[in-house]
Amino acid sequence: MIVKMTKIRIMGPKGLLPTVTDLLHGFGRVHIESRPPEVQKIDEILLRRFSIEAPALHDKEALETLLEQVKKVLLLLPAPAEESWPARVGTPSGVTDRYLKEASAKIGSLAARVDQLVGKKKVYTDERSILERYEKILQVLSPLISQVRESRDLDYLGIAIRIKEKDVIPLLEQAMARVTKNQYEIFYAQVDAEVLAALLVFPKGSYAQVKSLLWEENIGELRLPSSITNKPLGEAFKIILQKRRDLPRRIQAVDRELTALSGRWYGSLAELRAWLENKISEILISASFYETKMTFVIYGWVPSRGLEGLRRQLAEQSGGRVVIDSVPVDEREQERIPVFLSNPPFLRPFERFTRILPLPKYGTIDPTPYIAIFFPLFFGMIIGDIGYGALVLIAAVIVRKRFRGNEFIRDFASIFTVASVSSILWGVLYGELFGDLGERLGLHPILMNRMEGFLQNLYLALAVGAVHILLGVGLGIFTAVKHGDRREIWVKCSSLGLIVGFLLMAAGIIGFLPKSAITAGLLLVMVSVPLMIIRGGASAAMEIHNLVNILSYLRLMGIGVASVALAFAANKLGGLVGNVVLGILIGSILHALNLVFGIISPTIQSLRLHYVEFFENFFQGGGREYKPFKKLPHERSA
């Protein structure tokens, strides 16, 4: 449901503003209104927007600087599990220069240490990855190097060539011949599928020319890490092996120290971050307040049921010097009333589906309870299989347990828990367990066999569609009555007459009702259509679309039959193999595929039936989201 809101105005002496701001922040249910229309009517000299004073701006800057420091350290520290956070140190209730200075100094030295450790770790991991690359190349080249080193007149350089660029080799050989006057040798050795290592051997006097040749031809010389740059390649290889053994130990040591720092500081820093953000938001929110020479004025919205509590708290904290009164809402302001959806816990997960669309306008209907009833119903109707339903149920329960801390995943797991139970129940009605496997095991349909009773299934889908659309039209009438919109009342009522008329005619034609129902239905249609157009104008004729919308519910049958046909095919193909194990394997793979489609498609189709067909009759989107001024969690005042 959409919670009833009251517009409030809080006034008091300026000296009490910090107390009131803190109280509102702690109360956490007031949506501050920064542009109330009544203020625009008042002379600006009398009532003007609150200007944040210099000391507050100074505090804000200091808080923001500290917040940046804290955020940086939190980003660099490994996050421990929240349960293992140490006892919090607590934060002061007010902002003091001394506290900020002390905190900044402490965090500064912590940040320096963390920076140093993270920097070290980066150097080590970079070096490790470079060495990993060079180790392979040097491993291949080192036997060649040891041969070359025996000669005092020869020098050598190593290069790595990508195999896909090996066309460069003949050019390199030509250039080497030119530079060394044919006194050279190149040894090649393949490092892996992508890289070829080459050792260029030449007289000692040609070293500079060969180096400049490589530079001119843009051929990458093997550049060793800085720590072994000046070492000969052979020695470098030994150093690399030694370092490769040492580096993981060093990285581990750094990690241990970072984890220890995190264990000691993370919880306190997270607490401090929340405190800083709360304090900054308290300063910034004052830009939405108003002031006269001596008083402050705050406009906002509060859930009506919370108004008395707020009034009491304000009276207690201010000794009766702060006044709170409810302000009548201007007609033009109706659309600015914040929308706060509040549903019982078992319906709350379905708000996720409501929030996919823009929020409903204030004063209209929150569709969440209806989605909570019809989404599982449609989902179950489409899947309608005990086996698939049970698998979805197991998966949903596991996901719900595993991601208890993640509200988003937990909500969807809850939705699919309900939807899977509905699938199991419809599976019992259809007598389906992994397609026709249930029938082979002696399970019989109670309602219908979906592979045979196509027409029955068709009537069922249309009947469910008619009920859903009629409910939508009913809610449309309710909204129109609530808003006193006479035209809409007439249009929706005649739309209701039109649908009922057609349903009577259809029921009479197929023999569900006596033939007289056809005449009654026809009469109802003949009255409803002209009434709709006379009272609502030509555009009201669009309501006839509701009849087409009912037909749209045939997808409940169509997709359901497609799903059951795939399940039958899975069993049939599994049975055709002739080998029990292989048959079960093939059948299981096909069932798994069907199940994946069987979750995605019914979800989208069920939602579509809500958003397109059902909502069309009553839903008015475009509501303004309720954003209460409230403290972030993890703050505990010292």
């Binding site: 196509f454 037909l551 169509g558």
Partner: protein, 72 residues
Amino acid sequence: MEIGLIAIGAGLAIGLTALATGMAQARIGAAAVGAILEKPESFGTAIILLVIPETLVIFGFTIAILILFTLK
């Protein structure tokens, strides 16, 4: 012969509507992905727009079933 014609009719009913749905969804899908990239909050509206042409194939499917079961 008659059964064959009925089957062809049912096949055409579902096949042609499926093609039409596919063509419509291809265009809507491409535009929807662009819209979502620009404005992620348009995801809900995009999904709705994307599934609207599916009504065509659902109707095709229903007509196919009616052809198969009422003309048999």
